[in-house]
């Protein structure tokens, strides 16, 4: 009986937690043991599935301006965590911290936190 109850709980938990998993492997795509912080102007906010993206114009570690692709949660995950399609606007200055991509030419980051200093709006979490 306990076994059946456990299975049902696992089933219910699985159905309700709804992980929005990328088709790619995070370990294969990002340096999960490193972090990078950028500050720049938001160019585009793609609120979508399976993952949202934020594109930001910000300098790299050599001071050269780059367009960074920051991978964020799925639309469903973000909406549960209070982020909507209107949360960010083109031109917003934001500070982003996350795991850098393995291919440096891609200027890619897996989001860990984002802050908009002008009004203090922020998000912090785990992109799944």
């Amino acid at each position: 009986m306990k076994h059946k109850l456990l299975l049902l709980l696992i089933a219910a938990g699985t159905a309700l937690s709804v992980p929005a998993i990328a088709h790619h492997s995070f370990a294969a795509t990002y340096f999960e043991d490193k972090t990078i912080t950028i500050q720049g102007k938001l160019v585009q906010f793609l609120y979508r599935n399976p993952h949202s993206f934020v594109h930001v114009e910000a300098p790299d570690d050599k001071g050269v301006m780059q367009t960074w692709a920051v991978e964020w949660g799925a639309g469903g995950q973000l909406s549960r965590e209070g982020v909507t399609r209107e949360s960010l606007k083109p031109g917003d200055v934001v500070v982003i911290t996350g795991n850098p991509g393995r291919n440096p030419d891609d200027h890619r980051i897996r989001m860990q936190s984002i802050t908009r200093p002008s009004d203090g709006w922020n998000w912090k979490g785990v992109v799944r």
Partner: protein, 624 residues
Amino acid sequence: MGNVCRARALGSLLYAAALIAAFALVPSLFGQGVIGQFVPDVGLDLSGNWSPLLHEDFLERIPGPELVNYSGLPISEGARLWAESWDSSRLTLPEHQCQVHVAPYIYRGPLQMRFWNEKDPQSQKIIAIKNYISTYEQTRTIWMDGRPHPPAYAAHTWMGFSTGKWEGNILTVYTTHIKQGWVRRDGLPESDQATLVEHFIRHGNHLTHVSIVTDPVYLTQPLIKTQDFVLNIQAGGNWLYPCEEVEEVEGRPKGAVPNYLPGHNPFLTEYANMYHLPLPSALGGADTMYPEYMKVIENPAPEPADPLAKAEVTPRATPNEAPNPVPNDGEVHVLHVQGNVYMLVGAGGNITLQVGDMGVLMVDTGLANMADKVIAAIEKLSPHKPLQYIINTHVHPDHTGGNIKLHDFGVTITGANVTGDIADASKGAAIIAHQNVLDRMSAPTGEKSPFPADAWPTDTFLGDRKVMFFNDEPIQILHYKAAHTDGDSIVFFRHSDVISTGDIFVTTGYPFIDLQRGGSIQGEIDALNHLLDLAIPKHDEEGGTYIIPGHGRLCDRWELIEYRDMVTIIRDRIQAMIKQGKTLDEIKASRPTMDYDARYGHDTGFGTTDQFVEAVYKSLSEKH
């Protein structure tokens, strides 16, 4: 034991026997015995919602596997090089973003799934077991009615074509026609030649899924995995997994395919070092599957001075002969693609037919000796309306050999103002091609022509396109200047949404770059990239625009993507070696195509692997 006890025991036995008898009677009372002629299906019922037990292999399934972690997988040498060349940045390309987990892998996905039976409304026999898998919104159909699998030249899908049967309480499923995908999400490939045997075993509210993948291209032994599910009686949950491609990385050059040159993967030793494993164990292979391999890990051989040396290519062990899905039976086989368009295989190069109220338009005419059988196939598809147009995609005789007979078989229907005024206006179908095709087939007056004059195109164009409207369909004929040859055209049926590519794209080998007739590797890659721009998938890189290759099986955009990737990666490798000053012989000896040879390589006959490497080398070196 006393009498009372014996009586109780006997009573219990009788009671149990009565219960068993009653339960045994139930099916006959409510089955075929009492109510009509209903015959229950053999086997259990899998119907219902099932949730995966994600804790099984959690690290691989949810966060994802590490790079160059190939442990425990019976991969071939070619698969290893394929994966070592794989840069995860490739998944940022828009055309790769919605790649689906193939059928053998999708049960490792995170979301729930649903089974239901489709029954014949009259007999109530099961026709098919349907399986909707939320991960990537895939629906599998497991046919239970004994139908055969499609021919090898039919299109492949992510879920493949499945037939099933109950073996006691186990549903056994056999699947073919699976697209190329991966066996692990760190670049390890699974080829489109893989087949799958599955066993679905239900134990009450628990379901065990056993998958056995056989891949003659990238596995040296069958790969067996199990995963478990529990019945989920809760309503709701997530059933959707939409994916739309976007521009993730800006500014990347068009046609670039991120890859590591052989021996240059910077992460080759990362996983092995992280877990203090000898590198060979991380590089996988059949021996790493078995418990005995622990002895090797505990007593590893001394590491070589250069760990990358282990990843270098080795001499070819077995000859390669790429699979050909077209039956070699001397017959012409017809496959309806979609809309007005059909594919004919078996006559040499593939032939495309567009059939409608106005008649027939065909792309390429196959080999000369197959023309009568091609005509018979056309007459069957269009018994009352004539062949009016022939389009030649290029000059080669396996695509133009039937020109004379097919031209004579067809008619040209001209405008009313000229009908009757021009003697041959209604005699013979028009043969359309780029001017370069005519130039290659003909010769100036007084010189010997390589093709008989009756086979020559009758209607040529000089620019990069010609358009037509036939059978209620707009048709574009698009010319590429220097790809397979200098006279290549593709034909895009815009309403039917089918593209006929000629030999720019084949599934039976590497592209044949005909340098003598103006072909080039860069033109070939440019043409493949342009074809990718034209094709639009219906859902997650499947369906939508269908592609009829010059040789081989029916495809959609996904096969074009993989082919473009392959040609581009091999180009990159040969180009890098030319920059290093390597000779053609040195380049051939390094086997720059090794990871693709088991799928596309030919050691003998026309269009060998060596010829391809040589053509790429000469094209890049401009030494031809």
